[in-house]
Each structure stands twice: as structure tokens, then as C-alpha cells.
Amino acid sequence: MVTELINVNPIIYEKKERRAPSTPHDEYDVEPIDQQEDPEHPYSLEELKVITEEAVELDDQHNMVTFTPTVEHCSMATVIGLCLLNKQLNDKERVAAALENLNLLNMVDDCLAPSYD
């Protein structure tokens, strides 16, 4: 369990205005990654400038996502990365190795725990 915040007072940036998608929203849609919340704060990754539109590069074969933690040497970087990188989550060997890290395991457990707020 994380007892103290790594970045107590992060800088908050304005959200970029976007036009609504032309296709109707589906309950199975994946949440846009810039709308996902930071593990520590009730702000989106876009508001914290962890993810920006410019940091996502696409070509025919690869998707390159560059994300910037709010502080250097951020211990949450692994969790943010796992949230963003689907191929890693599909690699059971990498997942098995990651879950042998007790700090990460506890953090994932906290993320998955039901909220009673």
C-alpha cells in the first residue's frame, strides 16, 4: 500500500477540445488512454501531461506511445506503462515476472480492489 504521494502537488494542464466521435459510443469501447486517471490523483493523464496527442506516433506496423511521468524516477511509471501497453499484458512471461515484484503486486491489488466510496 502506498502511504504517501510521490508527487503531492502536480501541475494541472487544460484539456484539449476534441470533436465528438462520429460513431456512437459502445459499452465495450476502450477508454481513451489520455482520459485514464493517474494512480495518485483524480486527474486524467492528459491533464497531467503524462500523455499528449503529439506523443502518439502511428505507422503501418507500430504504435509508439511516449509517456512522461509527472516526476523523475516515478515509481508509478511501471503501472502507467502496463495500463498503456497492451502487448505487455498479453505476454504472460512478462506479467509473471512483474507480479513477482511485491510492490507492484500490492499496487495492482489496490487498483483492482473494490471501491466503497
Binding site: 506496423q61 498479453n90 505476454d91 504472460k92 512471461e93 512478462r94 509473471a96 515476472a97 513477482e100
Partner: protein
Amino acid sequence: MMELKEIQRLEGHTDKVWSLAWNPTTGHAGIPLVFASCSGDKTVRIWEQNLSSGLWACTAVLDETHTRTVRSCAWSPSGKLLATASFDATTAIWENVGGDFECVSTLEGHENEVKCVSWNAAGTLLATCSRDKSVWIWEVLPGNEFECVSVLQGHSQDVKMVKWHPTEDILFSCSYDNSVKVWADEGDSDDWQCVQTLGEPNNGHTSTVWALSFNVSGDKMVTCSDDLTLKVWETESVGTQSGGGFAPWTHLCTLSGYHDRTIFSVHWSREGIFASGAADNAIRLFVDDNESQVGGPLYKLLLKKEKAHDMDINSVQWSPGEKPVLASASDDGTIKVWELTSY
């Protein structure tokens, strides 16, 4: 018709079983078959077949050495040494002295999880690979000493498997970066270079390559991947690879539609049958298709074993013995021994 008949289900590991390795000196001349298995429970188990009953039993548990998952194991060609690669970033060398196994050396250097270990045909070189994206080549010195002679940096992501060619000192590595790389010692001592990359541009895999295996003569290789395909590759002449220049590998055929989940393991038997094991819990066997159409697959499905295990199959390995015996290891914590029979 052929059948893959389950001989025995072996229990003992308390976590997923990642890998298997048969002792190459067993299974003939009255020597009982022996194999090693390694697991997420941080242990290695040695299994031996009873010659009279034909049943298997665990004869040794190698523990209290690795502190994390043991991902891979490999016997030296002499059968006297067993190398084990672990997520604890080390490779342990175990010596078999009269059935008792002692850890005689620990190889350190990789930055994080070691994924695989492989001995060359002469037993003079050892290769290891890691999530740190590197492949290390170690020279085997007298007195169970090991010296790193080369660190190979070429893959852009973690390296899943290393495998020496069965007859030549040429090393193959496969990676999360979707490629297979071929490494050779180009003239100068210990000056190892990547001499070929088998990737997407030359009919390679489109996702993580998990494993590879060679046929007995070493002129063909099969690879398996996250992209749900098996690919067979060939080389013109094995003999030219040492001394007369490198003979490149070319894509021969792609086998798709046989597994619907990640294919984790593939192994070619001395009889020319290759087995695949996958996350769909199934085993498939393939053979040379002498009647294949021009341009079509050159290998055909011999048989399929659905629900071979209750969970993902991580390793399939043919035995070195006289009869075609296959062992499989699974996330369900068990190992199964199978015999290929005709009916």
C-alpha cells in the same frame, strides 16, 4: 493412423512448469530416460523412468538456489551438467555426482530476468538471454569455471530464447521484437556478429517469437510465435557455415490455422516430426508432406491432441530415446509424458 497416448501425468511442482530438458545421454544402452523440469515454484525437478515398470518418478529436487522463477533448463552434451536460467537474473550450473546435484557455479551479469540457456554441440560454449535485450556467450573452462566472452546487443526487446545450431557454432535468438537473429563468430576470436535477421520484411513473424527448433541434420528450422503461426526455414548448406562463409536462411513455408492461441513451444524429433504446444492447451504434430502442391505448405498435420493439458502448454520436448516419447509442461503445474503409437 497415429495416436499420442498419455503414459503418465507427473505432479510435484507447485506452480506453472515453464520448461523441460531431456538428458541427451539417457534412453539407450540400458540407461533409463531422464529429464529436468523447471517452474515458477523456484525449483528444478529431475525425473527418471523405471526400466522395469516404465513409470516415472521424481528423483531429485534442486531448490534453495534460485530466488525467483526458474524459466529454462538445459543439459550439457555430456549429461553431467545442468544449466538453469532464472528470473533472479542468474544462471546456475549443477553437477550430477552419482545422482546428487550440486550447484557448482552461478553466472551473473544480466541486468534482469534470464529467459533461456543453451549449450553448443561440443559443450564448450553456453548462451544465455534476458529481458535486458542481450545475449551472453560464456566459455566453459576447466574446473566448472565460466567466462563471458561476448555480449551480443542486437535485439530491441527482451530475448525469449537462445538455441545453438545442432552441428555448427552458430547461435540463434528469438525475441519480443518479432525477429530471429543469427549470430556467428566471424573469423577473429570471440568477435561474434549478427549475420542475419529473420524478421517481417523477409517473411518473418509479425509478433513475439517464442521458440525455435532444428531438424536432425540442421538444414531446417521451425519457429513459433504469438502471431499463431509456425514457420519453417531452410539453409542451403550446413557445411559452409564454418569456414566457407555463412549460408543464409530462407523462409520455406508458414503453417497457420492450427492453434488459436499463442504457440509457446516447438520441437523437431529425430524422426522428422515436429510438435507444437500452445496456450490453447493443445499439442499438434506435423510431418513432411511429400505430396504437397507447388507453392503450398510442405508440412502437414499428423495429429492434433486437444485438451492435452488443463492450461497453457509452455514446453514440448521429444526424448532422445529409441521410442518416440514426448514430454509436455503446462501452466497447470503438471508434466505429461506421451508415446506416439500407431493403431
